[in-house]
Symmetry: C2
Subunit: 428 residues, 2 copies
């Protein structure tokens, strides 16, 4: 992963090179703290040890019974699904990957209708084994499998913590069960069993993903000017301090669209606390130049834009044409056009004083993806250290969980009473 | 479309009922201006006349030769594709809809490899007929069709303005050609030929979409308290004035995920100018409660959240279970769970002083979709009037277009020189 930070300076919100050099001393302290956390396997920090601690042989063994799968269906929500989805959407495979990561009944019905469940493997992922959305979906899929004459116990494995419903279910029915690593929050779990089991079934080289992650870990150092991950974390932090409360994250590759979603969860849930944090706004290049660029260039000065691309990709020639005014396209290629748009957008943001960062990997392959995933995790943790945040918790989501549980009759919660007492002012 | 604005008040950014009542006088003026613009078919405003002026018979005639299609491939970018994609993703059809709205060579190759082009209809959409991305993709698809032995002229129609490459191409090869209505910017074109031709091939009732839009138009009035569209536009404007520079737009229906993208273009490109505008951050309920909610509740107070749902949908029972602690789910349904999460999230935002708005339609069907599309367009125009913006232009995107064209050898542009002169500060 390479970061070009030249366009971070001199715009609005304002950042200059001197300010960043001052910040670099604090990056050294953050690096010490991160290294200590890794060394001691502390909660959260241990996520950065996954390139070494993840047992890929264990994953391959667990999925070996499902080698004949034509599809893999991950049932999980949030960090239990998004890492696997990110890899699945980035890399091509003949084994299709599907996800039930919501409880929309119409979507669930359509998806299950479209699948041949006799050749589909279900992976149910929940650390606690009690996540309502995930367990509800599991119960529905199990019923549909049974109704279709499919032995669900032969087509299901679980990824879960040491105790709870899913663990018991696995023991009761002899299902393969992968452990969720201890001390790794869901949004940091992509490089573990949680993110890699689906990839293994799809035939991806999960060791190469971890090798890419390890290469990025080896680039961590006590200066942001030597470490792409810390450069990204420190510059985004410094710009946020200066008023960039939105980080528009814009990959120029359709295959990385889900990566932008994964990034959005990582960034929002880790850093959105104590009145701080940056809103990740997902966009896609070049498409969203025709949608969001007007705002980024001419709207409020509360933004930075992250532009991400692979520097190599399979290209496609544009046929010669005699269409008027378009001869310049003929003989060029879609990749050349896309790169020109990337660089033009980057420069157009700079010309409009909108700070922007360029992130590049060589290719969207296992290694490049490993670099990106690890790099953005380390960047996020670095930002959290600099901002003094509790990066690995998500206390603000508990309120809604209790309220929903109360509404559904799963216990007495005063939060549910507040929902029931909602005022209304309806315009219709 | 119904808007519940009760949770807009009393949070941070701050808004109270008195302020909104004062604003209502300006809403009356905005309504007069909008009605005048509609009356005189002025640029942009005439978009709101589309429920009456769109000739659905003309659309049905143009697509009639393609009644046998198993798939429809729209080649366009920005507003030339997003409206059609919004309808396609919202409504079920046996005719698949695909979109080439980017110039990613790997994505294009994968998509074309997966399609049976002999039963696919291509719709090339560009008002000017010169959009580089669209024409490049058209040239590629035409070549692939020809290589596959498919007569592209028998499987293609265009949607374009009165002049330009696509119009000439249609005349030269006898392709059906639909007109792009005059005075309608791309992001406001979903209720015209541009958005509805694909829907017609998919077998959707395009008259019902327009009827839904007309019903919403009939609710426009000189008070925001009587018009859902103006209520949405005025309240989001008032909150933006108070500091809500981000509008997190969160449908609770997978089928409306693309609608959120459409909204993001409408909002960003129309209102992001003169240092004003609100960044649309796309999210999806319930999934993104596990991703973004922490930030919305506990991060900077620069946000409002829009929660959107249909009040009716096909539901799915959750099977009974003896799993520990989950018996409360058994006998319930996925829809009940989703609604509980919707209401719990809404209340949890209010409890954290985060302003939020509830938008509801009866069902995700043609009529409901028509209401939503028209309603949000009128809301956007209302916001633009209140903010004194030039809602229908997008001047800030021209810089990058010229730069890209210059880089590709399509002419001399000083913007391209600025791209070539970019400074670098690379951390690797």
């Amino acid at each position: 992963m390479r970061i070009d930070i030249a366009n971070a300076f001199g715009g609005e919100p304002a950042l200059d090179r001197t300010r960043l050099e001052e910040l670099d001393e604090r990056v050294a302290e953050a690096h010490d703290r991160i290294a200590e956390g890794m060394e001691n396997d502390e909660f959260g920090y241990t996520s950065l040890n996954l390139p070494e601690t993840t047992d890929t042989a264990e994953i391959r063994d667990a999925v070996e019974p499902f080698a004949d799968s034509e599809a893999v269906l991950t049932v999980g929500i949030g960090g239990s699904a998004l890492g696997a989805a990110t890899i699945a959407d980035a890399l091509e495979s003949e084994v299709e990957a599907y996800f039930l990561d919501n409880v929309d009944p119409e979507h669930t019905a359509r998806l299950l209708d479209s699948l041949d469940l006799s050749t589909t493997t279900m992976n149910v992922v929940s650390n606690s084994g009690t996540t309502a959305e995930t367990l509800a979906n599991f119960l529905v899929v199990r019923e549909v499998m049974t109704a279709a004459g499919v032995d669900w116990t032969a087509r299901t494995f679980v990824t879960t913590g040491p105790e709870g419903n899913l663990r018991e279910l696995a023991e009761q029915h002899g299902l393969p069960a992968l452990p969720v690593p201890e001390g790794v929050p869901g949004r940091f779990s992509v490089l573990s069993t949680v993110g890699l089991a689906c990839a293994a079934i799809q035939g991806h080289d999960i060791d190469a993903i971890l090798a890419g992650a390890a290469a990025e870990r080896d680039r961590l150092s006590d200066s942001l000017f030597d470490s792409p991950a810390y450069a990204y974390g420190a510059v985004t932090y410094a710009l946020a301090e200066a008023g960039a409360l939105t980080n528009a994250f814009m990959p120029y590759a359709e295959s990385l669209e889900t990566f932008a979603e994964w990034f959005a969860q990582l960034w929002a849930e880790s850093l959105g606390k104590d009145g701080q944090g940056q809103t990740p706004a997902r966009a896609l290049g070049a498409t969203d130049q025709h949608s969001q660029l007007q705002l980024y260039r001419a709207g409020p000065r509360d933004k930075l834009v992250t532009l991400l691309r692979p520097t190599e990709r399979a290209d496609r020639a544009i046929p010669e044409t005699d269409l008027e005014g378009l001869s310049y396209l003929g003989g060029s290629s879609l990749g050349t056009l896309l790169d020109a748009e990337f660089e033009a957008t980057e420069a157009s943001l700079a010309a409009a004083d909108c700070p922007n960062l360029r992130v590049e990997i060589d290719e969207v392959d296992e290694h490049g993806l490993g670099e990106l995933l690890f790099g953005m995790e380390a960047a996020c943790i670095c930002y959290g250290e600099l901002a003094g945040l509790s990066t690995f918790t998500q206390p603000a989501v508990e309120w809604g969980k209790k309220a929903a549980r109360g509404l559904l009759g799963g216990g007495e919660f005063e939060e549910a009473d507040q929902v029931r007492g909602k005022e209304r002012l309806v315009v219709e």
